[in-house]
Symmetry: C2
């Protein structure tokens, strides 16, 4: 995928995608999200890696936030909001754990003056939250302590920026929990995985696999990191969430303690969960979309159906009837848009709304008016059905479900058989050039002593990485590490990576 | 009101307000919002003017955002999201208009490196939005162009920070519209005022007056500024919204043009509207609250009713029945919390939830269980009523309305007769020391030639300012300017100001 750059199009460039997804995924992706596509974002803001989210794109982000907020609140999390800046001393206290400081943006001036203590733009929440947790949590009665921040931004000076995949500023969502026992913390990690499954797979149909990351790829301050990876159509994995088992590591640094039932003061056990907002959107764009544009699941689309009248330039009376009928229909369907523009052809309108991924199109011509019917076209599988007007509300719900099923089926198809297997490094290299997905290989160790092999793998394969072992599906290894030939203790998944 | 500082309380400080609102409003306000009060925010984050919003406070903010988003979307605004940083050149291009640069925070470093072009933390949106508007708006068909940003933060290096009143980081909401004609723009300004009336007065019962600001107090880049002021109980006015008639000023600087129906390229007419998120919350806290704590309208409260069981330590069987009855009730009331803690007395619970401003309390003792009734206590006017269990859902809705009516009535009472009148400066000075509200006086000019008088007023009254003339209620002036004794052209309102 190419870096973010939006050509300085003239003000009159026509909408539409000119490249097929299978021919050049990277260029297709850029076209779909930018000016000539669904206009999800704009890269002409003038600061690399800082993206402007346009209404259609921001509505998707907003809806994803709503779905996650609802899921977290159902799991007894409460929202709060912290400043965007973090004092340098907090970050330094934690440098050995998080190691973000080389990527941090610093606020150093106010007006024409240097400020006394420079402030970091939040790279992630831990070091800003936990000093306050230390003040707020007093007793075991305050536990579990489950909070989240939503609709916030984080900042990292990442050089390789790509819209919805990597940004210097990126949409963030994080929950941070404290528990009485490690057992409780581990149970929350499972719950976080269920939330990913419920929201991202079952509602948005973005498929993924959960991995336990090798120790060299875990979050530095964590005992273990559990992360989910989807695959984009170019075959690279994209991490779309992570949950960290922080143990008592941060609790000890930031003094997050509680008085337990036995009156003793103890450190809390902490977890944090971060679904990757923009990357989940990237998954929806890249996996569901086709040569016509976006394809949106019903749970995230800003518009469920567009009503397109089939006007004829020479039939004014008939057009009036069509217009009146369409207006009647719109009243009955709450999330429908009536596209009544007179200076665009029906075909132009079809393309426009297909580009945006709207699930259903209601086509209304003279026949529909006369027979009091509605022709409904589904975006995902391009099937059409004609229903009676009286049955419209019910039919819309049915057709949305059918459209969702088509998306889900395609995503299932896309994600299955994504894993190949080999025991030979030479073979692995060949497979990495062709296979779009994971490759399962024997590996010496997922502890720190396996890191050298991971570095060799990366160097000799233009960037393939070890995803880890699939969570809850660890298989027994046999044979020798594909790199160092020592006894293999693990069967790990390898993939090219964003 | 004192500056923001939260004492380092011990972890075991008791909740509760120890100061009466009428005795010391400033101290009462701090107590209500901080640790010993409703815990809306926390000032111990370590960076002055950067506040942590705790769950109860953030839920209020979130709900206010929801109400405003809904109102703006009903008025055909679409959401978008811009980066938090603004390139220096954008800000400089517009310096003559906005004049924010002395207050701007600058990002100058990334990691250990200076960045090439320093970036401002957004002080307000104009200079970041309009260069993109210039790219997006092409034709009269794109107008009106109505967008908003919500749940974003703005930054100004303000020295006098007070929670919910002034912050260096503050919750922001802004709509920015472009129109074909000045007439359309003026009509939008009226709509913005209606939105303030619908949301802030009719739903939240925060009273205010709309003023047309004198020219020396308008937004620098605007032709005119229309702003609403409420009054806090210490008698100072607090601006809680502003709408600017930007004319074509910014359009000319940032080249926001469109091709009109006559095929000529023209500059758009712009308006922007900014309700003050945290300040509207400050109005709710300060105006509705009483010596027991917050009082929340039903449209913003996170919890509509709390169910408090009246347990007796020696009656285990009876307590079980009460507990079962309460659980049954909770199922019937969707936004109710059942406070079943065993180690707190009913009185303690009453105080706790009154502090948080929850509209209704459902008291359940042996009598209620036996008679299958519920005793409902209203927070705002402290009245009680007992209803049959079967009528509970309906009764809750009724009692929420009654509670709202009590809040509204009190706010009306509070805001009426807030304006006195005088023609003598000596008299005005005496009134400013006592009168909690506006004072109407004859004034030479609300154009720039009246500025000297405004400065003299401010200097000789410890900070009283000219609010302007009430929008749509301008009265004919007579006599002489209260300061310079020239012929008075206006009757303006004077008040002490936050």
């Amino acid at each position: 995928m190419t870096k973010d750059s939006e050509s300085k199009e003239s003000k009159n460039s026509k909408p539409g995608i000119t490249i097929k997804k299978d021919d050049n995924f990277s260029e297709w992706y850029n076209q779909v999200i930018l000016e000539q596509g669904a206009q999800l974002c704009d890269l002409r803001y003038g600061v690399q890696g800082f993206v402007v989210y346009r209404p259609w794109g921001y509505k998707l982000i907003k809806k994803l936030y709503d779905l996650l907020e609802e899921a977290l609140e159902n799991d007894n999390h409460e929202p709060f909001l912290f400043p965007v800046v973090i004092p340098e001393e907090n970050l330094k206290k934690e440098e050995e754990h998080a190691g973000f400081t080389p990527e941090v943006f610093w606020v150093t001036e106010a007006g024409n003056q240097k400020i006394e203590k420079k402030l970091a733009l939040r790279p992630t929440g831990e070091t800003q939250l936990y000093p306050m947790y230390s003040l707020w949590i007093r007793s075991h009665k305050d536990l579990p302590f489950k909070k989240y921040q939503s609709r916030i931004m984080c900042y990292r000076n990442d050089m390789a920026t790509r819209p919805f995949i990597r940004g210097r500023e990126f949409c963030f969502f994080e929950s941070h929990d404290v528990f009485q026992s490690h057992q409780d913390a581990l149970s929350q990690i499972k719950t976080d995985m269920h939330i990913m499954d419920d929201v991202v797979w079952k509602k948005l149909f973005v498929p993924f696999t959960f991995f336990q990351r090798p120790k060299w790829d875990k979050f530095l301050g964590a005992n273990d990191t559990y992360a989910s990876d989807t695959l984009l159509p170019d075959g690279k994995r994209l991490q779309i969430s992570s949950t960290h088992d922080l143990g008592q590591n941060f609790a000890k640094v930031f003094n997050v303690t509680f008085i337990d039932e036995d009156s003793k003061t103890k450190y809390g056990y902490q977890t944090c969960f971060g679904p990757g907002i923009i990357r989940i959107i990237a998954g929806i764009i890249a996996i569901h979309g086709d040569d016509k544009g976006l394809i949106l699941p019903s749970s995230i689309t800003p518009v469920e159906a567009v009503i397109v009248p089939i006007f004829f330039t020479d039939k004014k009376e008939e057009n009036k009837k069509i217009d009146a009928y369409c207006k009647e229909l719109q009243k009955k369907v709450s999330k429908a848009v009536y596209d009544d523009a007179l200076d665009e052809t029906p075909g132009f309108k079809y393309n426009k709304w297909e580009l945006k991924g709207v699930p259903l199109r209601l086509e209304i011509g003279p026949k529909e008016v006369q027979e009091k019917t509605v022709t409904i076209a589904r975006r995902a599988d391009r099937k059409k059905i004609t229903v009676k007007q009286a049955e419209l509300s019910h039919a819309i719900q049915e057709q949305l479900k059918e459209n969702d099923l088509a998306i889900q089926k395609k995503a299932e198809e896309y994600f299955k058989n994504n894993t190949k297997e080999t025991k030979e490094f030479s073979d692995l290299k060949k497979m990495l050039a062709k296979h779009k997905g994971f490759i399962k290989v024997p590996w010496c160790s997922t502890e720190m002593d396996g890191k050298d092999c991971a570095e060799k793998l990366k160097a000799e394969t233009q960037g393939a990485t070890v995803c880890g072992e699939p969570y809850n599906q660890k298989e027994k290894a046999s044979g020798k590490c594909i790199i160092c030939q020592k006894t293999a203790k693990h069967l790990v998944y390898i993939a090219k990576t964003y």
